[in-house]
């Protein structure tokens, strides 16, 4: 792909721009990126998130924007307005503190707001087994779609085993 500014060099810098709620991707070469002042990774990084956010707050009134900017993470003290500038959150708790602002942002970036991958095992056994079972159900469905019935039977047995274990754990927990 050639640079969309000079049309000569191969585009190697890519970013997403939002105008009037329309998202467009822009691909430019190093030289043009440098000329436009978006050269270093850190700068560009900032640019992407800042741009995404700018597009989103456009639809807010000035007072709303001001109020949102003052939302602060109770644990690390990061202001939402600083996140808007740097594109980086301060700590794990920022995800809770800014959840209402982050949700639409995550949707824009990923097209989704819910995790569907692996989970830590440590200290999160119940969450983890629920997730594993969920994942196995997905796999079961895929196996059936592909007519891999032997695999499907294996997965089904695994789900049954995990569900039995979880119920046993719940009963155990109830007694103590």
């Amino acid at each position: 792909m050639l640079c969309q500014i000079c049309g000569k060099n191969p585009a190697s810098v890519h970013f997403t721009e939002i105008h009037d709620n329309k998202m467009s991707e822009i691909h430019v070469c190093e030289r043009c990126a440098e000329e436009k002042g978006m050269h270093t990774p850190a700068q560009q990084h900032k640019f992407e998130i800042a741009d995404l956010l700018a597009g989103m707050v456009d639809s807010m009134t000035h007072t709303e924007e001001e109020r949102v900017g003052h939302v602060q993470c109770p644990r690390c003290g990061l202001l939402y307005s600083s996140f808007k500038e740097t594109g980086r959150l301060g700590c794990a708790d920022c995800y809770t503190a800014f959840q209402f602002q982050l949700r639409p942002l995550l949707r824009r970036i990923h097209g989704d707001t819910h995790h569907r991958g692996k989970a830590p095992v440590r200290g999160q056994e119940s969450v983890s087994s629920t997730r594993t079972i969920q994942r196995l159900h997905d796999e079961l469905q895929r196996a059936v779609e592909r007519e891999e019935f032997e695999r499907a039977a294996q997965v089904r047995d695994e789900i049954r085993k995990l569900e039995a274990e979880r119920q046993a754990a719940v009963r155990e927990g109830g007694r103590s």
Partner: protein, 363 residues
């Protein structure tokens, strides 16, 4: 596959992907999986104090030491490395530019299986990576996943049931996964079909970058293709879609190569041998030119032209001719013109050695 015990050993040794082995190694140089993880109780790297970052380094050192799978590797702290040594690590794709700046308490841990490493205090506290030769996403994922499980026994990760693994930048939240393949597509570039291919790659939600990762220039017809999003899809789904698309790209490139061989065999051989000749006899050469000429030689090797060097040598040249590698090997800092002379010498010597080896095995 044994872990280096010092920087010198690491420097003298070769990286696993250099051997030019593994599935589709003539087209796919390496497959990488990266997982971003953070510790629950420490602010993200850019907001943490230096003593907190030292604490993260200590926690990771403890965690790898408590794992039978991971213990016995090499932990390098960036602040203890010279600028050239840090740049060597960047050139080997072991650490990112950000980690290589050496300004803060950061480190890299190379596991006993040297396909696995952990960057500490990069943008996220941990960046687990596996780097395998050729096109083997399943193997690379198995390595990264197992490493992650091992560390999870000791470390408490920042995780939420809804959003998944929490990362400093929301673009990595969820799985924290970046799966990528480094692929050589000279025929598609020569036949000017590459733009169409790159466009369709981006349309299916994958990303294309240059040899040295994010925002780097595309050189030597080498492209890094990776997943873009991390939330809403399982690791397996992301990896499967990258695998599917990569297979299609491999087929497209193969067909383009066949067409070139059929329609323009002489021109192609001429291009390959001229590139080889320049590398074999140059007296001063820039890193970028080496990368571009190596592209032609790699194509020649892949298409089975007799008398060229093995793929391993082409891979080695890509890394050993980079500025920091040249200077580390020479044991002194050099200005660019001096480096160009030294680089030419290294290239000539490597190719001459390879010619000797080939002659010896034939005689």
């Amino acid at each position: 596959m044994s872990a280096p015990q010092s920087f010198d050993e690491l420097f003298q040794g070769s990286a696993p992907w250099w051997q030019g082995e593994g599935p589709h190694a003539d087209m796919v140089l390496s497959t990488r999986i990266r997982l971003a993880r953070n510790l629950r109780d420490v602010p993200f790297t850019h907001r943490a104090r230096d003593e907190q970052l030292h604490g993260v380094l200590a926690s990771v050192t403890h965690a790898v030491g408590s794992s039978s799978l991971l213990q016995g590797g090499l932990m390098l702290k960036m602040q203890d490395c010279s600028p050239i040594d840090r740049q060597v690590l960047v050139e080997r794709h072991l650490v990112s530019h950000e980690l290589g700046d050496g300004a803060r308490p950061r480190g890299i841990y190379v596991a006993p299986d040297d396909r696995v490493s952990i960057m500490v205090n990069e943008e996220d506290h941990l960046r687990l990576q596996s780097l395998t030769p050729g096109f083997q996403l399943a193997e690379a994922w198995a390595l990264a996943d197992a490493t992650d499980d091992e560390l999870d026994r000791t470390l408490e990760y920042a995780f939420s049931d809804e959003i998944g693994y929490l990362t400093a930048c929301p673009t990595n939240a969820g799985t924290g996964l970046r799966a990528s393949v480094l692929i050589h597509l000279p025929a598609l570039v020569l036949l000017e079909e590459i733009q169409r291919v790159l466009k369709s790659i981006m349309q299916v939600g994958l990303n294309v970058r240059g040899l040295y990762g994010e925002h780097s220039e595309i050189m030597g017809n080498l492209f890094q293709i990776s997943n873009q999003t991390t939330l809403g899809r399982s690791e397996r789904d992301s990896i499967e879609s990258l695998e599917r698309v990569t297979k299609q790209i491999i087929e497209t490139e193969e067909r383009a190569r066949e067409r070139m061989l059929r329609d323009a065999r002489t021109q192609l051989e001429d291009k390959v041998w001229r590139a080889y000749g320049t590398l074999r006899y140059c007296r001063s050469i820039q890193a970028k030119e080496v990368i571009n000429l190596c592209s032609a030689v790699r194509l020649g090797v892949a298409m089975g032209l007799e008398g060229l060097c093995p793929l391993r040598v082409v891979n080695e040249l890509l890394v050993l001719t980079q500025p920091a590698h040249l200077q580390r090997a020479a044991g002194t800092e050099m200005a660019p013109p001096e480096r160009n002379i030294r680089r030419a010498q290294v290239v000539r010597e490597r190719l001459a050695a390879a010619e000797h080896e080939t002659r010896d095995t034939h005689s």
